[in-house]
């Protein structure tokens, strides 16, 4: 079946919905999602969205910009970071006008809380910049955007899995997608395609990411000759629930929570003397790993405590001399914790049987966010090479894209800023592009490649490899060797295992040969995407012989700006991965040593 | 769109909903009043417990057939108690048959059957109120 729309958006999270809202004001838009829009992973974002509103104390977008660039370990493109931080203020107000129920200050303004890495650039103290709606900010953003899409009668194709991008002669012409319910292939003929497919945390064993986050978009792009940028940078969030990886928001530390090792020591004082527990995520994750490695994990195991009990938090408020704006000592009560962090209390109660008001929470770093992705310019247009040549009609934004605003390490709250700002920018630019461009004809049999992928999976003989086995081996090897700390032999071993797994992937067999709602087939297809992404990640990590942000090489512990202040671009041709590099855009902030 | 916007049907639904609740409270008072009155009038000495309760809810002097004390309060056969009984019967019947209508709406789905069933409920309602009226006012 062939559908014709001006613009096709793949993914209905924050980026996809924001882009749809803007693009559909001028052209015919359809949004494809492999779930329902409200199931998107944006909904699990907890702590807040960063914007220098200054509702509590002085704050400026330029401080936000600098914090972002410093957080990125100077790998972010500074023009893009500046745009993001300045437009953040605008999108937050826009969300509020759309109805998002932000928490409020006494004067009825949007309430803000401190978050890791966000500082007053003059005093270097944490600043309250994260606008929040309890600890379900992402949930409210997703709901609010979906509500507006309903109001605006945006067309959705729910439960459609994208399988292929139709691109010919340097022009994107649509996508091929599988209707999950029926198993039918649909061709979407379009002038512009936006990939807003999110991340790929499922490459790792311990992850905060949803089962659906399998990197479909980047994998499809990679198979069509489009490079992936900065894939070696994947953020590990310091506080995931032990063993499960479910995220505990940085907002907990923003509200006064501290990390404690088995000696009862607040160890972040040693790693980030100024802002301590609110250091950026790469630093905090590494600190936890180092504590564990030196035998200071709780019970000698590989986790530490995140303690937000009022007595602990208040003790450290006093020790740090923290004060409210009116000068009184800062205090938190059990009621505040329950009111501001209800979902966290719910998670820990459900999964650990722990009440955060009376007990500390066991946490360990968890694979969380992809800084890299499909390379784009500041309008969301996908660029193909070191010269930033635009691939006409193809857009990417959000976690799946790499603008790059996060560089080597993303600051907390900036993911939500990214999806909204660049979702909006790409929506606007797609509309402009669609109004100017004409439809280009589809190639013959546009769905051939997609059909071949699906049919070959279905046609495999019985008794082959199981999808789940290959997937769990991939996740384990990536966790062991391409996670918080990396070194050459380990990464090489991971690459060997991965190519072995790729080979075994060719021999998998699936139980379900049917067409209707065949999740067995889908999981097999998704595993293919994961393996491709894992290989690219490991290859890029092997090549980068320095430590920067989330990429921490034990054999090369120093940042090397002379050699490595550049973005990687990974291409895949004939099964081999080729790495090229392009320069970082530096505008106002020359690289400095990064101390918190 | 399958769902209609505001129309005429809604007001009736609301008032019946409200009536159900208000009449429930009203009937509680009537019941309590009847039982208390029956006891004050000496019912505890002359009637067994079921009779007393039955009487309390519906104090018509001949209400109880199966009793060897049918005429303890012949003075209750005055118009006040008859009108009182009639009002109670009517309110109880509206409350009850409206409840039956709701149950019917819940579990009868074919439109024609539903219409028939609701018609039948209405006819039954009229008949019970009519028959009750005849009995209360002794119009034989």
């Amino acid at each position: 079946m062939v559908h014709k729309y001006d613009a096709i958006i793949i993914g209905a999270g924050g980026t996809g919905l924001m882009a749809a809202l803007y693009a559909s004001r001028g052209v015919r838009v359809a949004v494809l999602t492999k779930m329902y829009p409200t199931r998107s992973h944006t909904g699990t974002a907890q702590g807040g969205i960063g914007a220098a509103l200054g509702n509590h104390e002085e704050d400026r977008p330029e401080w936000h910009t600098f914090d972002t660039i410093k957080g990125s370990d100077y790998l972010a493109d500074q023009d893009a970071a500046r745009i993001m931080c300045y437009e953040a203020v605008d999108v937050v107000y826009e969300l509020e006008h759309m109805g998002l129920p932000f928490n409020r200050t006494e004067e009825g303004k949007i309430a803000q809380r401190p978050f890791g890495g966000h500082t007053n650039n003059e005093t270097r103290q944490p600043v309250r910049r994260a606008c929040y709606a309890a600890d379900r900010t992402g949930h409210m953003i997703l709901q609010t955007l979906y509500q507006q899409c309903i109001k605006q009668h945006v067309t959705f194709f729910n439960e459609f899995q994208v399988l292929d991008l139709i691109v010919e002669d340097g022009l994107a012409r649509g996508v091929v997608a599988l209707e999950i319910t029926t198993g039918e292939l649909h061709v979407f003929h379009a002038k512009a395609v936006l990939f807003a497919t999110g991340g790929w945390g499922k490459v790792w064993q311990i992850t905060s990411n949803a089962h659906s986050l399998t990197g479909d978009g980047p994998a499809v792009a990679l198979r069509r000759g489009i490079p992936l940028e900065d894939m070696e940078f994947f953020q590990f969030h310091p506080t995931g629930i032990y063993k499960m990886g479910i995220l505990i928001t940085e907002g907990v530390r923003g509200e006064g929570g501290v990390l404690i090792n088995n000696e009862g020591e607040r160890f972040m004082e040693r790693y980030a003397p100024t802002i301590k527990d609110l250091a950026s995520r790469d630093i905090t994750s590494r600190a936890i790993y180092l504590e564990v490695r030196e035998g200071r994990g709780i019970d000698g195991k590989d986790y530490v405590y995140l303690d937000v009990r009022p007595e602990t938090a208040n003790k450290y408020f006093d020790l740090d001399g923290k004060r409210n704006p009116d000068g009184t000592p800062r205090r938190i009560t059990a009621a505040d914790i329950r009111a501001k962090l209800p979902d966290i209390a719910d998670f820990t109660r459900t999964y650990l049987g722990i009440d955060p008001v009376t007990q500390p929470m066991p946490v360990q770093p968890t694979a969380h966010y992809a800084m890299g992705g499909i390379p784009t310019d500041i309008h969301g247009r996908v660029v193909m090479d070191e010269e930033n040549t635009v691939l006409s009609g193809f857009y990417a934004a959000g976690e799946t894209a790499c603008v790059s605003v996060h560089g080597a390490n993303r600051l907390g709250t900036n993911s939500l800023v990214d999806i909204l700002v660049f979702g909006r920018r790409s929506g606007i630019d797609m509309m402009r592009y669609c109004q100017e461009a004409d439809f280009t004809p589809l190639p013959d049999e546009p769905e051939a490649f997609a059909r071949e992928q699906v049919e070959s999976l279905r046609a495999r003989p019985e008794g082959g490899e199981r999808v789940a086995d290959i997937r769990s081996q991939m996740q384990r090897v990536m966790m062991d060797h391409v996670a918080v700390f990396r070194e050459q032999p380990g990464i090489q071993e991971a690459l060997d295992v991965l190519s072995d797994l790729q080979e075994r992937y060719q021999r998998i067999s699936i139980d379900d040969k049917g067409s209707q709602y065949n999740t067995d087939l889908l999981e097999a297809w998704e595993l293919g995407a994961l393996l491709d992404i894992a290989q690219v990640t490991a290859a890029a990590a092997l090549n980068r012989t320095e430590s920067r942000g989330a990429h921490s090489r034990e054999d090369c512990p120093k940042r090397d700006d002379a050699e490595w202040l550049k973005h990687s671009l990974a291409y895949r041709a004939a099964g081999r991965i080729e790495l090229r590099y392009k320069p970082v855009t530096i505008v106002d902030y020359p690289p400095k040593e990064r101390v918190y | 769109m399958r769902f209609r916007s505001a129309g005429q049907g809604s007001a009736l639904e609301y008032y019946l909903w409200l009536f159900t609740r208000l009449s429930a409270v009203f009937m509680l008072f009537i019941g309590a009043f009847g039982i208390i009155y029956a006891n004050l009038a000496g019912g505890r000495l002359t009637m067994d417990t079921p009779t007393q309760y039955r009487w309390g809810f519906f104090p018509i002097y001949w209400h109880v057939q199966n009793s060897d004390i049918p005429d303890v309060f012949p003075n209750w056969s005055n118009s006040f108690w008859r009108v009182y009984g009639m009002i109670f019967l009517f309110i109880a019947a509206v409350h009850g048959f409206n409840g039956l209508r709701i149950v019917v709406e819940d579990y009868v789905h074919r439109p024609i059957l539903l219409l028939l069933a609701k018609g039948l409920v209405f006819v039954l309602f009229l008949f019970v109120v009519g028959a009750g009226g005849v009995v209360i006012f002794e119009l034989f």
Binding site: G99, K109, T144, H211, Y351 | F3, E13
Partner: protein, 238 residues
Amino acid sequence: MAQGEPMQVKLKIRRFNPETDKKRWWGHYQAEVEPTDRVLDALHYVKWHVDGTLAFRRSCAHGICGSDAMLINGRNQLACKVLIKEVGRKITVEPLLGLPVIKDLVVDMEPFFEQYRAVKPYLVNDDPPPATERRQSIEERERFDDTTKCILCAACTTSCPSFWARSDYLGPAAIVQAHRFIFDSRDQASQERLQILAESNGVWRCRNIYNCTEACPREIQVTQAVAEVKREMMRRRV
């Protein structure tokens, strides 16, 4: 703590494949899990190691996305929010009641979302917005806090006997969404929403059964929200 001995559980799963089955049937499976695992982990065990044809929805696996609402041991719950130790060694899993089954545990959510869309689930405010935020006091914000938690998982609506009886009933989830806007001080369309909900398929069908409130994985006081909508109608009419 997330520790425990591996244990065997028996799963009884309601199966249906539209391509091969005329009737629904029960599949019986063994799964090896830990007491602190989720029911979702047991389902994954079956799907990944025993029978790949089993179909169910899931995504975030920690109770936020709302994909995996299903009937577990006779009650609507999220498979990712129920631990094995809470349900014991025998687990019965069925698809949600009242929505058409597509395959196994997967139901067609479209009727549910149609109900949702019917209540105008979006902020309506035609005044030109100010340059910064619209002001709202902490108390005004608190008024509708509870109903903003809804994740549209359909656990409430499909646990409601009034919905089972008549599927044109808008259902608790839609009313919760309406409540979220009716009591938002910034909204201007509450009158319209109240009129929609006053229809014969609206709030009057609620019989205060509380199955919705008991089923809600986000612990929203669903019945209370419905009652508050009823109360608001009374207030405006009488």
